[in-house]
Symmetry: C2
Subunit: 423 residues, 2 copies
């Protein structure tokens, strides 16, 4: 029976039962964590051999990776990212251990120096970004520190709502950018449709230096290698619309090999790459080329990466299944909440009844289960419905994950009943 169809009496007696189970969990002093999209120990073990010494440390063009030089990265790493990102290697800069840094730095350059004669963003009264939400909290943190005003955009099955985006950017020149995680979006697991990508590429922005921040963090992070999503190439879409300077495209091996022990990359138009290199040249002499060479030699090409991702999928898929099965078994009969069924990425995004997210996170915490803070996936941490919770199933071992999810479902039910009574 749906919770909403129950009598107050039935709800109340169910709540009492739930409270007793909750007390039993609390008594066990558990410490379980589903808060961050961290790979598990057995996922990390998949890349252990990457840390073996190499026969030699010369890149294929003869560059000694142990010494200075090659700001844009070694050729074989640029080629590898070129395959993954479907971009010409000469339009790729291979970075250090963090694609987030590449994004922050890209914004910092536009903020300090501007793009080729445009006013630096730091000299403008107002700079705004469109933020499809729920989204990646660390994108929003970058906006916050730079004082960039965030405008939330709702997400649908095809990606963010394009009509709203088109209207906003057309009339407001202070809107300078949009954050996109186009494949297996964080946290919803949504992949932008072809039409969404085409419309983004064709955006008629009032700001001449408008930029699409295309964080393709999960481009090969499928849960099933034979049934997966694929997102269209945003650079192609932009170029076809005659505005190839729109996108900055980011990728990373953080969730392929080692989180922040890996390599990252940025791809963009020739003009954007030239602009980036001009200032990057003041920031560093080169990124860590030894680690670039390790990755290029270990993975070789896209096929090598996909074979490796299949092993990640073997570990991750059962965890996602368990999360979804438990949600289905526990919450669906009561008619509380809905969630995404992602084919890849790192998260399950759960929407509880209005006003239940914070309370559920709090109840979980008091029973020893750490979740991402409610609201974190929204600009300024403000989920207007107080409904969304991001579940990260990857890190805990399967047995711990099961326990954590049982507690999560229990807490969600308690919060849902509390919310009804409050009405």
């Amino acid at each position: 029976m749906k919770l909403a169809d129950m009598s107050k009496q039935e709800q109340s007696s169910m709540y009492e039962e739930l409270k007793q189970s909750y007390a039993r969990f609390q008594a066990r002093s558990l410490k379980l964590n589903m808060s961050r999209g961290k790979p598990s120990a057995d996922q990390l073990a998949l890349s252990q051999r990457l840390l073996d010494p190499l026969d030699n440390y010369r890149a294929e063009d003869g560059t000694d990776t142990l010494n200075y030089g090659l700001l844009e990265g070694i050729p074989e790493a640029r080629r590898l990212f070129g395959e993954l990102m479907d971009m010409p290697p000469e339009q790729i800069i291979v970075g250090g251990n963090s694609s987030l840094s590449l994004m922050y730095d890209a914004i910092s350059r536009l903020f300090c120096f501007g793009f080729n004669g445009h006013t630096p963003w730091g000299r403008l009264d107002k700079v705004k970004f469109l933020c499809p939400s729920p989204g990646y909290d660390r994108h929003f943190t970058i906006c916050e520190v730079f004082g960039i005003k965030m405008i939330p955009i709702a997400m649908g099955e095809d990606g963010p709502y394009m009509e709203e985006i088109e209207n906003l950017v057309a009339k407001d020149a202070s809107i300078k950018g949009i954050w996109c995680v186009p494949q297996y979006s964080n946290p919803d697991g949504i992949t932008y449709s072809s039409q969404t990508v085409r419309r983004l590429g064709a955006l008629q922005a009032a700001a001449p230096d408008f930029r699409i921040f295309w964080d393709n963090a999960y481009c090969v992070h499928h849960l099933n290698m034979s049934d997966h999503d694929a997102v269209d190439n945003i650079y192609t879409a932009c170029r076809e619309a005659g505005q190839e300077d729109l996108p900055y495209i980011f990728s990373s091996f953080s969730k392929i090999s080692f989180p922040h022990g890996a390599i990252s990359a940025m791809a963009a138009s020739p003009a954007n790459i030239a602009h980036t290199k001009k200032y990057l040249n003041a920031q560093t002499i080169s990124y860590d080329k030894i680690n670039q060479l390790r990755h290029a030699r270990y993975f070789k090409n896209k096929a090598g990466v996909l074979a490796h991702m299949a092993k990640h999928a073997e570990i991750l898929a059962p965890k996602f299944s368990m999360v979804l099965d438990l949600l289905e078994a526990e919450l669906t009969p009561l008619g509380i909440g809905c969630w995404t069924q992602p084919k890849g990425g790192y998260f399950v995004s759960v929407f509880l009844p209005k006003g239940c997210a914070k309370r559920t996170v709090q109840l979980c915490k008091q029973a020893g289960v750490e979740l991402t803070g409610a609201g974190a996936p929204y600009p300024y941490g403000n989920d207007p419905q107080d409904s969304n919770i991001r579940i990260a199933p990857s890190f805990p071992p399967l047995e711990e994950l099961k326990q954590a999810m049982e507690i999560f479902c229990l807490c969600a039910k308690m919060a849902a009943i509390e919310a009804l009574e409050a009405i």
Copy 2:
């Protein structure tokens, strides 16, 4: 006989002889490079074992270095830098592969966000830096891209001329910083005296957010381990003067293990570290902790680093000796030029007669010897005397270095005679 004491006739016939030798060198189509402070292949080989896999990848506090986390670095790496920099580990942030990036980022944060309520530098009409010159060209490049006006300060045997610095910073609140390479300065090899450090620490700057950028790049880079310089602790000097927020202190393993395949660090007051972490947290989740662990395990402590630096010294000392011997043998009798006799670092700084630097670099280039561009060690590339040339003896093998220095001396003589005739 000194060149200046020769008759025009003698100068002219000497020039003809030099020209013939020069033509013979040109005919050999040499390719020799003394342009950058790069370690040689045999120096890099000293650290080869650093690239071996580790028994395990847990930091001493249990952190899995293969996964996310620890923005400020792993404890053992902070302790190692603490010993090298003579600073408390908790006041150290261990960075990525580039201390230059740490400096750029520090300036970028002050430019974008300002320090704790002070106006961000990017919002000011004018920002100026004092630049002891000759200095490190890449410091000056950072100033150039941020539009920071550079004021050259002459160097003496004790470091930069303090009286000029004291006068300037006291009366001009737009002077926001000073670049210092306090030990074995790039390129002069000068180590700041205790009095210089004390006066820097006690600077009464009109700007409340004035900063000393203390790039101690060569803190253990001695040429003779038993007869070396040491610079006083700038943090102590500042704290004793009641202004501990003045210095940002930088260090790096780039010329200990692998150039830009190593780790770096920044040390500062608790307030500066807190300010840095606040914004760094938006820029990245963590630096590459695997490489931090490799370095901490390999070098262990300062004694381990010094033992390693003794091996570098064995390779470098004969190169520096050869450079100095050749300069002495070839240029001293003619009375052209003077140069520093550094006890460490990576450079010999040669001052030729006025107006001879560019011409010498040009002549060298045409004979196949690459030098740092004349003027590069000065703000805006402008050496007012056109006199200074930075020689980097580290990279070429000894035999090549000898040849390159012979050509250098030859070209310097030619340029000196040309300059006399032009008078």
